[in-house]
Amino acid sequence: MTDTPLPRRIPDRLDKPLSSAIFSWEALLVVIAILIFVVNSFASPYFLDPWSLSDLTFNFTEKGLIALAMALLIISGEIDLSVAAIVALASTMMGMAVQAGAGTPVLVAIGIVVGLGCGAFNGLLVTRLGLPSIVVTIGTMSLFRGIAFIILGDQAYKGYPESFAFFGQGYVWWVFSFELALFLVAALIYWFVLHRTSFGRRVFAIGNNPVACQFSGVRVDRIKFILFCLTGLMSGIASVLITSRLGSTRPSIAQGYELEAITMVVLGGVSILGGAGSILGVVLAAFIMGLVTFGLGLLNVPGIVMSIFIGLLLIIVIALPIVWRRLREGRFA
């Protein structure tokens, strides 16, 4: 026992036994997704139609894009509540550009640049001034959407060019929409960055212990700044999609998206305290939320009642493993 030779090399990651994969968070999400899928297809005859399923994806792709970047940000121990406000501001700027006669490429560029700029502003406030991100982004949330309200008031921008409609309404192939394709490609990129690069390892490390990271030579502030920029960027992209899908801009656009995106991230198994999570989980959570809202929609359940299910799902899915563990340990009071 005492004379065990030291291992020659330390593995990058521990070997995962099959049982840990079966009892993983992602497996739980897959089971829930399949359950909801089966229940839905029994509950409504319209559910199992390729075009219905395609419509379903529009429920979550835009928020899902934001949730991907938000996942990294939350893993690093920060949060961004201003994402929906960024969507509104970027959309308003695109609307202004349309009034000035801008074409589709310019509009897309404006949406993305405004998103990036807003994200950088959040990042600067958090990293340069050392402020808590939850409060900073509550402030910028009011600020960004406030600017949209100042510019637009109770008006709306319309008249987007026809070619602009492709991003939110176009299809890449058969029933696969551009939005869905973009979401899947983005998910792949984020998966690679988070789980297969040193940058991703650093994001996890920062979430677990920022002080130790600082002393280990990780440039904590710079990485956090990049993550805020990424979240802004994804919000800008989401803004292009939403604006294109709706074909108009009001200052109240995308209201409440921030909480839905965060719900997706948390439902996906990302620890709200930072340091743990996976992109696969977030993607599964996005699908689950889409399935729930769409399935209930087919049953004529009003949106507000659906939100009860989403809220319950969030709490139950988080509480379930905790209750299960305590029951096994026999110390549940």
Partner: protein
């Protein structure tokens, strides 16, 4: 420390005085005592809510479900009143407190017993409580003509120069001041926020105290539910949608630290008043109300910057962690 807190509130008070002064240059009647009383009355509900939120934030938690609680409880009370106009208003207020308490206790139980972070719990109950409002009301509104005259007029009745609503706010402020500065639970709430580990060693039950603060914020949400509905005389699912962030904003402007342990009753009240003055002043000085959101956003950011500078004086975080270890 105590001097320092006073220092911050004096600055906030000075800021409010400057704000009122600036508004008076454009609209001389604003600083009139009668108008200021009106502003205070208009801000009463936000002040009460900010106090409820403050005790939660002090323990390093957050309650995002307050506005939904307000909406649900307000609807329940309004429907009760519409169905049974004979129920006296004090009984309705007790019912509102009780319903709010139950909703708060649900949050508190999940945080205490299951150790789920409060932001996750209340993010969930934020949507659940608002959804539940739809379920109990069936999506219908309760309008002014369905409410009894007592229900609407109770808070408007003048009592020694002030409307009852203002008196309720003053009563709540006094109550919170006593609890936070003169009782054991008040000290425990601060202790948990400053150093949870040390609090455990000092014999404070951290989980139970968190449960209690969520019960408090729940009761406040319920009380505000009745006050809000009877003030704006409409109960619907959309009531106070998104207002949870205004409540937190009032706390932040009032110097309550989101990291817990720092904040005072006076600060939270002044923070709420600051926001109340802005929203009251914009129409009278002919600035479009659409500016309000951006202005309060800027105020929040400015307040956070100032708060952070104040908090840094206490010593660097790395050192504090090293001490705790």
């Amino acid at each position: 420390m105590k001097n320092f807190l006073k220092y911050r509130e004096i600055w906030l008070l000075a800021g409010i005085a400057v704000l009122i002064g600036l508004i008076s240059t454009r609209f001389p009647g604003f600083a009139d005592p009668a108008n200021l009383r009106q502003v205070f009355n208009d801000t009463s509900i936000l002040m009460i809510l900010a106090l409820g939120q403050m005790v939660v934030i002090l323990t390093r938690s957050i309650d995002l479900s307050m506005a939904s609680n307000l909406c649900f409880t307000g609807m329940v009370v309004a429907m009760l009143n519409a169905a049974h106009p004979a129920i006296p208003i004090p009984v309705l207020i007790v019912i509102a407190l009780a319903v709010g308490l139950v909703l708060g206790a649900i949050n508190g139980f999940l945080v205490w017993r299951l150790n789920i972070p409060s932001i996750v719990v209340t993010l969930g109950t934020l949507t659940i409580y608002r959804g539940a409002t739809f379920v109990v009301s069936g999506g219908a509104w309760v309008n002014a003509d369905q409410m009894s005259p007592d229900f609407i007029n109770f808070q408007r009745a003048a009592f020694v120069g002030l409307p009852v609503l203002s008196w309720i706010a003053l009563l709540v402020i006094a109550l919170f001041f006593l609890v936070m500065t003169r009782t054991q639970i008040g000290r425990s709430i601060y202790a948990i926020g400053v150093n949870p580990t040390a609090s455990v060693y000092a014999g404070i039950d951290v989980g139970r105290t968190k449960f209690i603060v969520f019960c408090i914020s729940g009761m406040i949400g319920g009380l505000a539910g009745y006050l809000w509905i009877s003030r704006y005389v409409i109960a619907s699912v959309e009531v106070a949608n998104g207002y949870e962030l205004n409540i937190i904003a009032a706390c932040v402007i009032g110097g309550v630290s989101i990291a817990g342990g720092i904040g005072s009753v006076g600060g939270a009240v002044l923070g709420a008043l600051f926001l109340g003055i802005i929203s009251n002043a914009l129409p009278v000085i002919n600035i479009s109300p659409f500016w309000q959101m951006a202005i309060s956003g800027s105020a929040i950011i400015l307040a956070v910057v100032l708060n952070a500078r104040g908090e840094r004086r206490q010593g660097r975080i790395i050192l504090r962690k090293a001490e705790a270890a």
